[in-house]
Amino acid sequence: MSLALTSIFFLDLANLVPPVFVSTFLSLQAGPSLIHALSLSGIAIAGLAVVLTATFLGGRLYCSHVCPLGTLQDIFIWSAKRNFKHRKYPYVKPHYALHYGITLVVIIGALCGSFFLLNLVEPFSSFGRILSNLVRPLIILLNNAAALLLTKEQIFFLYEIPLKGLSVSVVAVTLIFLGGLFWLSYFHGRYFCNTFCPVGGVLSFFSRFSIFRITIDHEHCIDCGLCERVCRARCIDSAKREIDFAACVGCFDCLSSCPTVGMRYSFGRAKTPVRTPHDEGRRGILAAASSGILWAMTMKQPAPSSEPTYEQTRKKPVVAPGARTVERFTSRCTACHLCVSTCPTHVLQPSFFEFGLVGVMQPRMDYSVSYCNFDCTLCGRVCPTGAIQPVLQEEKKILQIGKTHFVKEDCIVETKKTDCGACSEHCPTKAVRMVPYGKLTIPEVDNQYCIGCGACEHACPATPRKAIFVQSNAVHGIAKKREEQKLTPPVVSPQDFPF
């Protein structure tokens, strides 16, 4: 259910799903909502409260019923069991210390401002990247093939969708992740969830205090071992009749597999207490935490020693309207690429190292692909972490995400001595205007009106270098609106024609 709906959000090529539905449903995604809650988003706090309450009540139900990456792994596990009749994931002692250690490192890294690790393992975002970078292009290709066939019959129900801006490196990283996830789940069950997943780590910790939990009833257990055989989290030690409930992902397969009434999901603590990591792993966790802090400190980018060069300014990535500041954005975005999938003009594209190590794969405005639609506010309305905040249409129209830089020496008017004006044509605020230049006209930029949408840069026909381009605003500003007098029609009699 969660997997299906989430997939629809990412593969909704025609933007049919209302954004409010997307954001409401995705507020249940704990990773993004935790970050979103930092900006005091009501809906995220509510979603997070639901998830935590559920975990307190009944354990990591989230991992099997809400997390789309969990369901994806279940599909791999199911296929493994289908292909190998006797494929099972026998009990292994959970390595809580390692899991909690990794979770702590990831969280500390994120708190210190580097989302590098978080973005690699956060489950919702990882799932989003699989859909956005691998599945969506395939769907687009299928759609385009179908559109081509239908168009020949003059049916325009489907239309070609440009497959623009796919980043080879991001696709490669996503493929490697998917391959690794497949291998882990195929051979080791929910290994990822109990080792790398930070959401799993946090919920695992909370599930230690759950009210309802799965236990083995020693009176009714016949030691058949079926529960251990079906368990995908490898947390049932049927020989000892013990369950490591903090590693349980709440799929309940064991309950339905039990031939007697030996498995219980009921109120009360287990008869044998859940092993806590404190004895064996406290030192490990402390070591992990301190190394995490150290690592995060080294990841923090050093302050630029001198003024950035011209090329550096040009290359600084522009972030979407609603991100407020580049720094705020990079410390909020988990790179789920939902905005990339949603953006109707495709100007939002995944970066790779453009934000530095702190923001690997976070989306940026790529004006070589397209430009930001003046009236569109979709990205902020779907963003599940609040990295891009929702903005009203009228606010968006004056939100300055960058400023325009014009290089006369590269301009067609200068190099070819002909009229061009493509930049000014596309400018929605007329920050770029054509002014007399001999017998021709040449662009003139007035940045107080510029919002950094990139229409001018995208339209500029100059090669190999664009003569006009947007420079990123580290802190988004407010542009002035050009106020001009209403034009009055000339007074002419209705019979008059000027020819």
Binding site: A14, N144, L148, T151, K152, Q154, F156, Y159, E160, I161, P162, P344, T345, N373, F374, D375, C376, I412, K416, T418, D419, C420, G421, A422, S424, E425, H426, C427, P428, T429, K430, R433, M434, T441, A459, P461, A462, T463, R482, E484, Q485, K486, L487, T488, P489, P490, P494, Q495, F497, P498, F499
Partner: protein
């Protein structure tokens, strides 16, 4: 169908369309001689003072009705300006009422299909929807087609061109029997004014190449490639400054006018005068007139003027 067979088919369709319209014209001219006034004699019809659909109905009637241009069973492509994601009152896109009326008239003249498209500047779905043209066409019995990806465009060579020897043209232009060009009159940062000839830029794929190789010459070159069978210049809401996109409705003057002609040069000259600009200031008009795309001297034309 592979690309080669498509091109053959497209070329065949174009030749057929050319000949059929030529013969159709002759036959019609004969019919016309029998009927009362030789309406075909008007080179240009100018209408003012009405709603866009009403003005068109009156104007096309003066030219003998839509049946003069659209025959039973023909495939019609209508090319408005849908460049921008703006509302009709912004004057950035052709008026949807006008496109609806044209579509209806084509359908009742017996057109097999009426298909409307533009290669937009802004996101095409938003532009089709918010210009009002998308819903208007569907309601009027036509179809809207996309022009957003290169796959719909095919290489052609432009004979007699000075700068634009090659272009990639939308297959609907190549395939259709009748081509109706429906620009809107507005100010334009690159071309000074956009009217019928400039509107053809929305039928090709690579506009940057035009901008990079003397825009005015390219407009004039392409005007000779496939002349529309009918041009209707919408001057109901006229964007007087900050074109072609405009900033707000403050840029727009309600002129409630319309021009209809088969001659792109004539209609653009008249359009410039209507706008209040000297046509000789617009280089592509001069170039097109020199390249014999049409006639620039309005004094020598038979103009029908209608005030509503």
């Amino acid at each position: 169908m592979d690309r080669r067979s498509f091109i053959f088919r497209a070329a065949g369709a174009t030749v057929l369309a050319g000949t059929s319209s030529a013969f159709g014209h002759l036959k019609l001219f004969g019919e016309k001689m029998l009927e009362s006034p030789p309406t075909d004699a008007f080179d240009l019809v100018a209408i003012k003072g009405g709603e866009p659909d009403v003005m068109f109905a009156k104007g096309i009637e003066a030219l003998g009705g839509m049946k003069m241009f659209v025959k039973r069973g023909q495939k019609v492509v209508v090319k408005p300006n849908i460049g921008w994601d703006v509302s009709p009152a912004r004057g950035g896109d052709t008026n949807p009422k006008l496109i609806a009326e044209i579509t209806k008239q084509c359908v009742s003249a017996g057109a097999k299909e009426v298909i409307v498209f533009d290669n937009t500047c802004d996101n095409w779905q938003r532009a089709y929807r918010n210009s009002g043209i998308g819903p208007a066409v569907t309601d009027a019995g036509g179809k809207i087609a996309p022009g957003n990806t290169e796959g719909y465009f095919h290489d052609v060579s432009v004979t007699g061109a000075k700068n634009l020897a090659k272009a990639k043209v939308h297959e609907l232009i190549l395939e259709s029997d009748v081509f109706i060009n429906v620009p809107i009159l507005k100010s334009h940062d690159s071309a000074k004014l956009t009217m019928s000839m400039k509107n053809l830029m929305g039928t090709v794929w690579d506009r940057r190449a035009w901008h990079a190789n003397d825009l005015h010459q390219c407009i004039a070159d392409f005007a000779a490639y496939r002349k529309p069978d009918l041009n209707i210049l919408d001057a109901y809401y006229v964007m007087k400054r900050n074109g072609p996109r405009g900033i707000s409705e403050e840029d727009v003057v309600t002129m409630k006018s319309q021009l209809i002609s088969t001659d792109m040069v004539a209609i653009d000259v008249a359009g410039a005068k209507l706008f209040g600009m000297d046509p000789s200031e617009i280089r592509y008009i001069q170039l097109a007139a020199e390249q014999k795309v049409g006639r620039a001297n309005l004094d020598q034309l038979n103009i029908k003027r209608i005030s509503l």
